[in-house]
Amino acid sequence: MPASPQIAIVGAGPAGCFLAQALLRTSPTLHVDVIDTLPVPYGLLRYGVATDHQGTKAVARQFARVFERQGARFFGNVHIGRDVTLDALRASYDAVVLATGLHQDRRLGVPGDDLPGVIGAGALTRALYEHPDAQALPDLGTHPVVIGNGNVAIDVVRVLLKTQSEFDGSDLGAGPGRWLDDNRIDSLTVFGRSPAASAKFDAVMIRELGKLQNVSVRVSGLGDPADDDAPVIAALREVGESESAAAGTTLEFCFSMQVAQIIGDDGVTAVRFHTPDGPLEWPATSVITAIGFESNPDLPRSDLLRHATDRERGILGPGLFGAGWFCHGPRGTIPDARRGAADMAATVLEFTEVDPKKAGARIFESLPDVVSYDGWQRIDNAEVHAAPATRVRQKLTHRRELLSEARPEEPS
């Protein structure tokens, strides 16, 4: 009979795993179960963080310790809201924390934003990083346009414009690698609604673009250099002035351009903008939107948040909590998730009462193909061993492959 609370965290991404880490640091005897709809843990680290930013993915090794040393358990391939209802989960655990993030791309909300050829940065990223539920990689054509002025836009641009050798040491898959090779991008233009001074890029991300081998960068609308230039302006200026000798592709940044309409009949042909100088039509073969994320419909997020006891602290109701982007919206970085976790752990423990009669993880026993942490380790091993010399991992891409690799070998 468990003497300490049984806690279920829904979502094995950074918010969920940092919370599990913080909970078990505060109270090592807790029963912490981390549940994910995918057969694999780590969410955004695996399917959102750019393939060439392996340093950022190193956080996964901390999370591995949460399962290997701190005693958290993983239940993968369990979809809360479909395989198990949220009410049933709450009935089985003393506390349930929703940390499922936000992965639906926010739409532009202008005429034509549903035309073929308009794709969200999140959807594109999932396809590039071989998420099992991703759509097929699209045809971007020769002149794609990226809408958005945050780091997500920069990640997409950088990966689209890198040459094969620039992916050494990444975990880019063979299929996406071929797709990138086959792209025929002549020019890529990034549009921001605000002036450059309000852009949300990190300067360090902009400077990284200056190192791309086959790209020349043009930046318009920065004005004259000034001593009080924000770091991001200085960085844009710097990369805009760098000349790449053999530049195959042009990358251009334009600011103060608000999308009015996506134009096309059965696919994108142009984007119409409002600009300070009047309307402007820009030819485009595809449009990648990187303007933020919103809720996916599996959990009644807006209802839960509207009736929250104390949303600020992540208390949604009796024994029900929210963490990370699910609760606080699509702002904040991976380090922010870590910083929030200690307070959140204290809140969860303060407002959780133990009921030894609760079933805990026994409610998953009747489900087929639940992936344990051991199962994930089998997947992880297989992926690392299958990697070619220039890659650190070769992901298994289909759910059935992941599930089959996760199963323990039958004793012969």
């Binding site: 950022t56 990190d202 910083r339 650190v392």
Partner: protein, 153 residues
């Protein structure tokens, strides 16, 4: 030898590395572990040997938990001439212009206050194939061997 492992971290990786180092050294020694954000520079002393693990964040900046320590160091201007430390730095050569600048800044601040650095400042590379939790152990053993005569009674 009394050893204190101090860490400055942003994403928690330096903390993980520091924890591993403490676990490894605990077998032989009395080893404390502290987050730099909880360390008062005035309390650093010559009786302990400090093994500092520090990452780099953003544009070559100090990681979040090293910043309050650096601010206190600047404000208090303590005399650290009795203090001896080794430093294991972490960075990403993908950002070569500021590679390992977090630990570089921290080491300079400590030596400017009079502290003596023992051994080489390790520069782990997140873009490399080695893991910092693996590299930290041989580094620490080398630095501890160098420091041992200084702490012999």
């Amino acid at each position: 030898m009394k050893i204190s492992v101090l860490f400055g971290t942003e994403t928690g990786t330096a903390e993980m590395v520091a924890e591993d180092l403490q676990r490894h050294l605990l077998v032989m020694n009395d080893v404390k572990l502290a987050n730099l954000e909880d360390v008062d520079p005035d309390e650093l002393n010559g009786d302990e040997f400090y093994l500092v693990v520090c990452s780099t964040f953003g544009d070559g900046e100090l990681p979040a938990t090293a910043q309050p320590f650096a601010a206190r160091l600047k404000k208090q201007q303590p005399d650290l001439s009795a203090v001896r430390f080794g430093i294991f730095g972490m960075g990403d050569s993908g950002y070569e212009a500021t590679f390992n600048f977090g630990p570089k800044t921290l080491a300079e601040m400590l030596t400017d206050a009079g502290a003596k650095q023992i051994g080489e400042r390790a520069m782990h590379d997140a873009s490399g194939r080695e893991r910092p939790e693996d590299e930290v152990i041989p580094w620490a053993e080398k630095v501890l061997a160098e420091a041992a005569p200084l702490f012999a009674d």
